[in-house]
Point group: C2
Chain length 145, copies 2
């Protein structure tokens, strides 16, 4: 199977700009061109791209990804370094998920709090007496999870 850049972009849910960027920066070494100089992607390229997207979206800088892909091409003697890189990425990703879950709690709290206000104040049409009161409400009560 071979694909156009557009098809790949759709499949991978990233922009054609990004794909060209990765290709231009040497991260898709097997991509071929057709007779009109258009990029043509084979399944092997999709696999490489999948790894690139995975590593990028878990926060690895492009330069590190380039280095990792170089290691892959250098062969088996680079496995120890690759192992270390993936271990580090694993840790990093676990931390990021954890951070997001902590932040999510704060957001959940806000959603619940606003929902509460909306329900109660629809019932008795309460309007705050002045701005300062509303401010303090937000600052001193709302922001304490």
């Amino acid at each position: 199977m071979s694909y156009t850049i557009q098809e790949v972009a759709k499949k991978m849910a990233i922009s054609t700009y990004s794909i060209r960027y990765y290709h231009d920066h040497g991260m898709l070494p097997f991509v071929k061109r057709d007779e009109n100089n258009n990029r043509i992607f084979e399944d092997v390229d999709l696999e490489w791209l999948h790894i690139i997207v995975c590593l990028r979206q878990t926060g690895m800088p492009v330069e590190r990804i380039q280095h990792y892909l170089d290691l892959v091409q250098q062969g088996e003697q680079t496995v120890p370094e690759r192992y270390d890189m993936m271990k580090a990425q694993q840790t990093r990703t676990l931390n990021e998920i954890n951070d997001l879950q902590v932040h999510l709690k704060t957001i959940n709290y806000k959603v619940d709090h606003y929902a509460d206000i909306l329900i109660n104040h629809k019932a008795d049409s309460f309007v705050p007496s002045n701005l300062e009161e509303a401010q303090q409400h937000d600052v001193y009560q709302e922001n304490q999870p």
Copy 2:
């Protein structure tokens, strides 16, 4: 309690550059200055900063955060819009966590795979016969979760 910018940076695990950036862009409206023009942060500022960090790290653009903080200062009549914003952020964050968990599986697979190679090949000191073989190994076997 009042704090220097350095103390706040440590407490919040962000850089002093970022804090100044948020302040300069109107997102910390209550921060005072001392007699030497140094920023001094009170607990209320930490609460605002906490929200800013939470929203930023869950991917809200600065402009949206500015808007949200404006809404907070405008008082209770903006609660419906704030509710919508937090709902959207909740959804976005859940999606992001999910994406990261999917990527984590790919990374876990790689870690396990490399660990496997390291254990087996330490045992019998296998070295691949050529680069191409190692390449194919990585591309065709490794990248299939």
